[in-house]
Every structure is written in structure tokens, then in C-alpha cells.
Symmetry: C2
Subunit: 331 residues, 2 copies
């Protein structure tokens, strides 16, 4: 397959799952010492990941948790942040200004920070209270933290069984998804690489991934116009501009909000001639227990979109690492 | 001016402000009886209004408050909702299915509901615990509730002075804004009525209004394609697809997040040839104290966009009350 290193992908997920003892040591200590609330802080793509984990926590937890966009937090503040707040962040480079300033601000307010900072020698890695450095797999890291907090709060009895299931089967299952998705991805790109505008629709724990896929991948990396729409909001205004020539892709996931995207997927063919439904349920996950599929649907989606990306990059002759403005001009 | 009934607009705002004693009677009783948290519940445009009031409350309040999209809440739930939750909603018709079901669900969870339901004889008006019926002015109603909760919590010492200032001057000030904005609105429409895609950018208490303006007005009522972007997110991916032919309008407000939109407004001219900056600060609000302008910047914005709408409607020969699908087909 084009630009696909099967073993590298397998090891990447395996290594991320292996962070769990290191994560649990921190979370367990926090829970033992006591804490007031949990803040997921991000900007751009990392804010989107916060939105994903927020849905999972809403499904299960009565813990006090919330998300903040770092720039908005810096401007407006949030009086919930203070001593006893545990802030979780992720940063690849450790140099994103809003995150550097955001960490300073929450610490000044009295919060403690757990940072997943890929670059272990970044300044930011010294500013946080606990740092874990391991490449990519951002959502998986966030979910491992959230799930442990909920387990410790008695809200996730199947936690151990689920992660044992993932450790045994997930790395291979995602490789399998990549293979299942590849020919679809190529056809999708053949059909949509020149779209003047592409709509991505979805909900639940996929929503953050969809928001980020439109903005950080199609816009930032492919230079292609997108709009992302939450599934329930599709029916409250947006639908009026959909017609036979609209390019609309609906991602249907497997968590509590599946029904919201199914509703769009069911209605869309009546009004749209260029629609695509990507349902994570259509992909085999060998070994993964059916009852845990919801918890990895975002990784199935990401694996599929990764295949779309490599074909887009080739078809459009546009290397994904090119930036016009981002970190190239002052703003 | 085209389709503008000055006296009707003036009386509309005046009448909304006159709801305050009725609102305060309810809020004061709730505060006296005690409550656990405040839920702002909406869908589509009313969810957007919830996002607006959430920013105001973050600026000032340590109260426990949060927003939910009604459809997402119905699918996923939220364990914060229970006895002691005060839920606030707004509905013009009282018949939006997600809101009817949402009110049922929060009440089953033990919450009490304050509903602004324009149609006093709607079924929904009977389902809520307290109903106030007065046409439009949704955001103003929400802000009056939020501000009273914060005042009662000792977080808004200037509350009385501010509302006295608004009652004396706001109705006329907004009429004045409409007049100040009209020729700009006509020019804007002349330039942008045929845009293949229009971007609206903004932040703070304007953000919900911008989201709703793109989706409920341009998409739903004008059948024009839009994308709305939060100001801080502009710099995290989206900017890569902006070039000299992109149509980008930035709304700059006057609250705590003004700086986030100013940053976009400052950078945009370097990369975009068809940009518009709409700064609420450029509009005179005769009699309104400078320190309270932030609290009505969303109404200044709405007054300006109302003028854009009437000119769009005329130029595009597209009556704003037409719907293709919304409430016309089953979905």
C-alpha cells in the first residue's frame, strides 16, 4: 500500500498502549491525594482531541471535568480553574504559543499539569508537573487518562478487561482497518480530490476528529476547502444549502451519538447526489470485543482518513508538509 | 430604510428589558431555595445563544453552569443534570422536537426548567416550570437571567446601574446602530451577495451569534454557503486556505476575547483581498456607558447583520421565509 509501513503503525499503537502503567501511576497518585476537577486544555487539533474525550466522559462520569480552548482561556479565564485542578494537555513540539502561555496561566491559578509532550527536551516539558513523551497517538493517550480517572471513581468496571483486549488485539486490528479501507480511500480521492468544497458531518467522540480532519488535514495540509458540521446541527439550518452537487461525507461512529449521524445518513440520499457514508461499524476489528468498539471508533476513523490522506497527497501533487503561512510568517 | 420599522424595533427591545422584574422574581426564588447548577440547553440557533451567555458567565462567575446541545444531551446524557439543576431554554414555536424531548429528559432527571417560549399556548409552555412569553430578543432574555444569577452571587455589583443604563438608552441606541450600519450593509451586499463561499470569523460572546448567523441566516434563509471560524482557531489550520480571492468577514467585539479577533483583523489584509472587518466599537451607542458596551456587543452585531439581511434578501430575490427542506420534508 502507498506510504504504509505496517510494522511501524503496529508498533506505534502498541507502544502507546504500553504507556498505561506510567499514566496510571500519575492518575492514581492524583486520585489518592484528591483533586477538584479535570481540565482538558488544547488549541486547534489538540482542542479537538479534548472535545473527543469530553464526550466519552459525559457518557460515563459524574466527575467534574471540562474543556477549554487555550486562547479563549487566556483571554477570558475560567473560575473553575484553581488549586485542585488537574489540567491535561498534548503538544507535539511543545512550542505552540497558546499552549506554553496556557500552561503558565493554569499553573499560576493553582492547577497541576500532566503534559504529553512528544519532544522530551522542549521547554514546556519542564513547565508541566508530569511529562510523558511518546510520539503521536494523542487521542489514545487522552482516553487512557480519562478512563483511569473514571475507573478510580468506580464508573468503569470493565476498564481492565477492555485494555487487556486492546493490548492484545488493537495494534493488529488497526492495521487490518488500513488494509480494508485502502481501495475505498483511493476511489474516494478519485471522486473528491478536486471538490470546490467538501462537507464533513459527524457526532459523538468522532466529532472532534472530524473538526480536526477538516481543518488540520484538508485545509492545513491539502489546501482544500471544507466545512465541518455536527450531525444534530445538520437539521437546523445547514441542510438548506445541500443539493445534488454538494459533496457531503458523514462519519457514523459507534458510541452514544451514533443515532444522530445515522439520522443524517438516512436522510442525505434524498437531497444529495455526491454523498459518502463512512460507518466505522463496517470495518472488521479482529479480536476486539463488540462492546468495546465504541471506545476505539475514533481510531478506526483516523485510520481510514489516513488512507484518504496519502492518496489525496499523491493525486493533488501537494506534499502534506507544505505550509503557506503557518509558522512561516508573523501573525 | 428598507424594511425597517424604527418604532417597532425600539418597542421590541424596550419590552424585552421590561421582562426583568418577571425574570428576577423567578431567579431570586431559585437562589433563595438553593440550586446545584445552571444548564443552558438549546439546538441550532438557540444552542448558539447558550454559547454566547456561557462566555459572559465565564468572564465573571464561579457558579456551576454549562451548555448542552439538546440532541447530544438526549443521546449521551450528562450526569451533572439532576435535582437542583436549573435549565434555561428558549423556543419561538415551542415545537422543535429536540427541545420538547430535551425538556422532558431534564425534568425526568430532576431538573427544573425556565422557558422563554414565544408562543404562550404551545404544549411546551405547559411542560416547563416557569414560562415567559415575549417575542424574539432571545439573547437579551438569556443575559438577563445569567446576570441576575451572578448578581445574586455577589459577582455583578454594577448590575443595577447597567440595566438602568440599558433601559434608558439601549432601545434608541440600537435604532441608531441600524441607521449607522445601513449604507455599509448595502455596500457589503453589493460586493458579497454572489460569493461562492463566505467565511465569518469571531470570538467571545459574539461567537455563538456568528455561528448562528452563518447557519441560520446565510445558509438557512439566504441559501448561501458559509463557514464560521473561531478567531483563535483561524491560526491553527484554517488560514492555509485563505488567499486574495477568499471572502472573509471578521466580527470584532468588545468583551474579554476582543484581542483574539483583533489578531485576525490585523493579519488578514496581508493574505486576503476580499476581507471585511466589522468592529462593534466603531458604532456609537448614545447614552450607553463605555464600561457596559461589552455586554451589548452581540446586539450591536445582530443589528448590523439585520441590515445586511434585508439588503441580501432584496439583491438575491430570495425571500428569507422560504425553506427547501426544513419542516417541509420528513427527516
Amino acid at each position: 500500500m502507498l506510504k504504509y509501513n505496517e510494522e511501524k503503525e503496529r508498533q506505534s499503537v502498541k507502544g502507546a498502549l504500553a504507556l498505561r502503567p506510567e499514566i496510571n501511576k500519575i492518575v492514581d497518585q492524583v486520585c489518592q491525594d484528591g483533586y477538584k476537577n479535570i481540565l482538558w486544555l488544547g488549541i486547534g487539533g489538540t482542542w479537538a482531541s479534548c472535545l473527543q474525550v469530553e464526550v466519552r466522559m459525559k457518557e460515563k462520569s459524574s466527575l467534574n471535568f471540562f474543556c477549554e480552548n487555550a486562547a479563549e482561556y487566556l483571554a477570558t479565564g475560567n473560575k473553575k480553574v484553581g488549586p485542585g485542578t488537574i489540567c491535561i494537555i498534548s503538544s507535539v513540539t511543545g512550542t505552540t504559543q497558546e499552549m506554553v502561555d496556557g500552561v503558565k496561566a493554569v499553573k499560576e491559578a493553582g492547577a497541576k499539569v500532566l503534559g504529553f509532550i512528544d519532544k522530551a527536551d522542549a521547554e514546556l516539558a519542564k513547565d508541566v508537573d508530569w511529562c510523558i513523551s511518546y510520539p503521536v497517538n494523542e487521542q489514545l493517550k487522552f482516553f487512557m487518562v480519562a478512563d483511569r480517572f473514571m475507573y478510580n471513581n468506580g464508573e468503569f468496571p470493565e476498564y481492565e478487561d477492555m485494555y487487556q483486549n486492546f493490548e492484545t488485539y488493537l495494534p493488529d486490528a488497526l492495521v487490518s482497518v488500513a488494509k480494508q479501507a485502502d481501495s475505498f480511500a483511493q476511489k474516494f480521492v478519485d471522486e473528491h480530490s478536486d471538490d470546490p468544497l467538501h462537507y464533513f458531518v459527524g457526532a459523538g467522540s468522532l466529532w472532534g476528529g472530524i473538526y480536526s480532519y477538516g481543518m488540520c488535514f484538508w485545509e492545513e495540509m491539502h489546501w482544500r476547502k471544507t466545512k465541518t458540521v455536527r450531525s444534530p446541527e445538520f437539521f437546523h439550518g445547514f441542510l438548506e444549502i445541500v443539493d445534488k452537487d454538494s459533496n457531503v461525507t458523514v462519519f457514523v461512529g459507534e458510541d452514544s451519538q451514533r443515532c444522530l449521524s445515522e439520522r443524517v445518513a438516512k436522510f442525505l440520499p434524498r437531497i444529495c447526489g455526491r454523498y459518502t457514508i463512512i460507518d466505522t461499524k463496517d470495518y472488521d476489528l479482529p479480536g476486539i470485543k463488540p462492546e468495546y468498539r465504541y471506545a476505539v471508533n475514533h481510531q478506526v476513523m483516523r485510520t481510514i482518513t489516513n488512507r484518504i490522506d496519502v492518496h489525496m497527497e499523491k493525486k493533488n501533487c501537494h506534499p502534506m508538509e507544505i505550509r503557506r503561512y503557518y509558522r512561516r510568517v508573523e501573525y
